[in-house]
Structure formats: structure tokens, C-alpha cells
Amino acid sequence: MQAIGLTFIDWIIILIYFVFVLGIGWYLKRFTKSEEDFFLAGRKNSSWVAGLAFLSANLGALELLGMTGNTFKYGMYVAHFYWIGAIPAMVFLGIYMMPFYYSSKIKSIPGYLKLRFDEKTRVLNGIAFAIMTLLVSGINLYAMALVLHTFLGWDWNISMWASALTVMGYVTLSGLMSAIFTEIIQFFLIWFGLFLVSILGIIEIGSLGQILNRLPESMNTLWSTSGDPTQNGMLIHWAGIVLGLGFVLSFGYWTTDFLVVQRAFSAKDLRAARMTPLLASFFKMALPFIVILAGLIAIALSNDPNSGFKLLEDGGQVNYDSALPLLIARYYPSGLVGLGVTALLAGFMAGQAGNISAFNTVWTYDIYKSVLNKKASDAHLLWMGRVSTVVGVIISLGTAYWAKSFPSIMDYMQAIFSWVNAPLFATMLLGMFIWWITPNGAFWGLVAGMLSSFLMWLGVKFHWFNESIITMSSVQSDMAANFWRAWWAWLICFGLTIVISLFTKKKPKEELVGLVKGLTEEKHDAHLPFVKRPEFVAIIAVVVLIVLNILFW
């Protein structure tokens, strides 16, 4: 069933967006002369530019639709992804980890692993990240075509090829810089294109308080029902939220996933790099006022038989992802519909561009230059970056068609993150803060963490054992299983890395200066007044986080 109809004006708005992003790619090409320009946007961005790009790289349309749909399914608990599930990790990255990343002048996260540990750990992470990135990129492409086909009636092939070729065009022309430019445009289009849904929903229902009053307690609070998993929509205990989401998954993603951290590497100096995730944290905290609020409005309207609002159904199953498109169709007249659809398109395309620009960097530096062609010149690496962009988009298209044949691989996306990012966070944490962690400890700990996460997922999938062994609860949800699996994978990697490090050869301390806390002089921004330091901004972010959690407790 087609939910949204487009008029001529809506098409004009969509066309303006396509012309703009391709035009920007063309305009920026003349400023992309070196490999550092292509892969790191010349390291000259302000903290605002890097910060908005840092946030936008994570803000795909799949997340917008999925999180609004998840709110309809699980209630306000989904806001944990934006608050405790993001802000502490972003603050930790800005205050403690960024000085080591930025000051070591690495070009990628696997590059840090090479300096801190050795080549094999770098290549292991580089290959895992490259595979993950292309899988996610392809699945995103498939999801975009699915959304456009379901809600707008667009042709599958035209949707996938048009957006993939546009992304390929502007990333090939000017690399990370054009990806960052389009991500920031996407950020503004998402706010202007989708925040109006929340405003109009509040106007229709009366007030935010009335929206919350129309929901059951299991859906309209953040923590008060978390002591008993049977009493909240997500069926999870607060310990699972804090350990699985708030600690492992969140820190694993926000502090080690190169897709987002690469944006901070493009900052002009260390202070701007440290401010990048801190500034982004404020916008991250504001996003529930689009995504979660829209989901709550959809629940409130569904509960009112006079509203005429009902989610779409596919074969008797409720299509939760239809919540946001149906609200757009409900409230937006001609022109605004085009803006809403453009916001979703921009989210999809910027998400794909983010994946491709991270892939081309990791492929070029951590696999190609590290293993295949160690003597490659800068000009050759720039050429390889452009070639790998084209190849990455083609592989993504292949993955998208694969996903179309096997739609269940969509379900694997969250699982993929817990295979790669959760154990990597243990490796990074130990490597950055304990000097005697050894290269062999890190490598085998990482292998064990990734394998254990994968085996736990396989075990539950094929019923080798009961999920309750992982979640320690009699009631189950996919979300709870993801959180707990990430926690165990992290713990296994953390423990094994320490044990193996006790018995294997350590790197000399002098080789670790600048890479490990305690061996590195730390006087960042000491000359600045306290109110201008990243630490001050971090304190404000934490205070806002605490206030929001208390407000919606």
C-alpha cells in the first residue's frame, strides 16, 4: 500500500537536493589535491563542522524510521539509545581517548592498533571493519529501496541505482570533504523536514503531557519500571541497559567505530577534535524530540479510535517502520511532503556516503598499503581511494540485491555491531589505559571476543541453547539479547586480553609514549580559561543528561 503521494512541487524539492549534493561534490573536487584532502578532508574543519558531521554520520534514515517504529513497539525506553546509550561514551571519547587518537596522527582506528600493538591486530580489525561497512552500506541501500517502494511506490532498481550512483559521484570526486558537507546538509534537512511532525502532533493532541497521559506506564517512563523486566515495553532489567547498552554497545560504537570517529580526525587541531563529540552530544540528546516523540504521538493516535490513524500491516504483521511516513502523510501538505521525503533520502544517502568514505580509508591504508603495496606513493593512494570508492559502491549494490533475496539479513545489522565493535572496545580500553597489555594479548583477546559474540548469536539462532542463559531473564526480546551478548563478548575479550598479556612479551615503554595514558604528557588546553575547555562543555553535557533522565524517570 502506498502511503504518501507526491505532487510536482514535491518532486522539485527532491530534485533540488540531488542537484545540490552533486554540485557540491563537483565544486569541492578542485580543493581535493592530496590524499590527506581526500581521506581526512585536509584536517582543517572547525569543531562545529566536525561535530555535526560526527552526529550525522550516525543519523541514517534507517535509524529515523527504525527508532520511531521501535518507540511504537517498546515505548520511551528507546530514548536510552540517545541518552545513556550515547552521551557518556561521547564525553569519554572527547575527554580521554581523543588526545591519543588525534595526537598520534593516525588516519584510521586500525592505524592506532598498529602503533599500539602490531600489524596483525590492525589487519584483523581492518578486514572486519571493511566487511562490516560494506554489509551495512548494502543493507542500508536495500532498506532505502524497501522504504521508497513501500511508502512512495518507487521502482526498486531505479531507487537503488540513482542513490548509489549519486553517492559514488560525490564521494569519488572529493572524498571525506563532500561526505561531511552532505552530512551537514542532511542534518538541517532532517531537523526542518521531520521536527514539524512532532510540533503538529503536539498541536493536534494538545500538549506533551497529554501525549504521555494517553500511554501505559510501561511505555511512558525511562527508568521507573526497569526493576522488573515484565513491567516495561522492552522486557529488560536496568542492569542490561546500563551494562549492555550504556557501557559496551555505546562505548564500542561511539569510541571505536571509524565511521563516526573519522569525522573528528578531520578537525583542525586537538581542541577542535576533542570538542567534536562533545558538541555532537547536545544534538544527540535533542534527537528524541523528533524520533521518540513521533513514535509516542503514533501510539497515542493509534489508541484513539476517532483519529483514523493505524500502522500499515504486511501479511498480518504490523509494519512499525510505517509510523513516521504515515505521520508525514497525515500532517504534511504539498511541498512539505517533498521536504519530509528529501530528509529521509538525505539520511539514507549520507549514511551510505559515511560508510563508503570510512571503507575507502580503511581499505587504502590498513589493507592495501599495509599488506598489498607497502611502497605506494601519495598520488597512488589518492587514486586507490577513488577506485575503492567505486568498487565499494558496486559491492554495496551487490549486497543490497543479496539482501533483497534474503530479507532476514536485515535482522543481522544489530548483531554485526556486537560481533565487531563490542570486543574492540575492550581492546582499545585496555590498550589505551594499561601499558603492559601485549600485542599477542590484544590480538587473541579480540579474536576470542569476536568469535564468542558470533557463536552466542549462532547458538540462539539455531537453538543450541536457551537465550535466557545470555540474558539471565525468563522474558526475552531481541533488543535485550543484543545488549547482553555485547556485554559477554566485551567481558571475554577484556579477560582474555589481560590473562594472555600476563604471559606474553610486552612492548618497551618508550615505544608507547603518546599512545598510552600514564606514559604521555597530558596538558591539553591548560592555557585556556576553564569555561573554554572541553572539560567544561563535558560537565554541561552530563548535567543536561542527568536532568533529562530525571524529567522522564
Binding site: I9, I12, I13, I16, Y17, F20, I24, Y27, L28, F31, K44, V49, I180, F181, I184, I185, F188, L189, F192, L196, L200, I203, E204, A329, R330, Y331, Y332, P333, S334, G335, L336, L339, T342
Partner: protein
């Protein structure tokens, strides 16, 4: 190189202007199919907000280079 804010201003200016003009047209000639809350004409005032925000960014950055 022009700063990113210049391009953000330009695209919001263009889109906001078109949405505002569409809203004014629909005010004078209302469409047959009405959306919920169409009586408050969201495309008129949201289009103005986008146009003004975009215009401000465009004017502030039109002579800047980075």
C-alpha cells in the same frame, strides 16, 4: 573555498521559498484533499522559518572563504 554554512543557507533558502509560495497558493486555492491541521497552513509559516533561517546563513557567509 566557501564554508558549508553557505551551502546550507542556499538550500534552505531555495526549499523554504518554494514551500512558502506553495502554501500561499494553497491558501488562495485550497486543495480538494486536506491534511490534518491544514487549517493552520503549516507550509506557509514553516516555509517562512526555513527561508529566514537559510537567508540569515546565506547572508552571513556569502563573502566568507575558509
Amino acid at each position: 573555498m566557501k564554508p558549508i554554512w553557505y551551502f546550507v543557507g542556499l538550500i534552505l533558502l531555495a526549499m523554504g521559498g518554494i514551500i512558502f509560495l506553495t502554501g500561499v497558493y494553497q491558501l488562495l486555492d485550497p486543495p480538494e484533499t486536506k491534511t490534518v491541521l491544514s487549517e493552520i497552513h503549516p507550509n506557509v509559516w514553516w516555509g517562512i522559518i526555513m527561508f529566514l533561517f537559510g537567508g540569515l546563513m546565506f547572508l552571513k557567509t556569502r563573502k566568507e572563504t575558509v
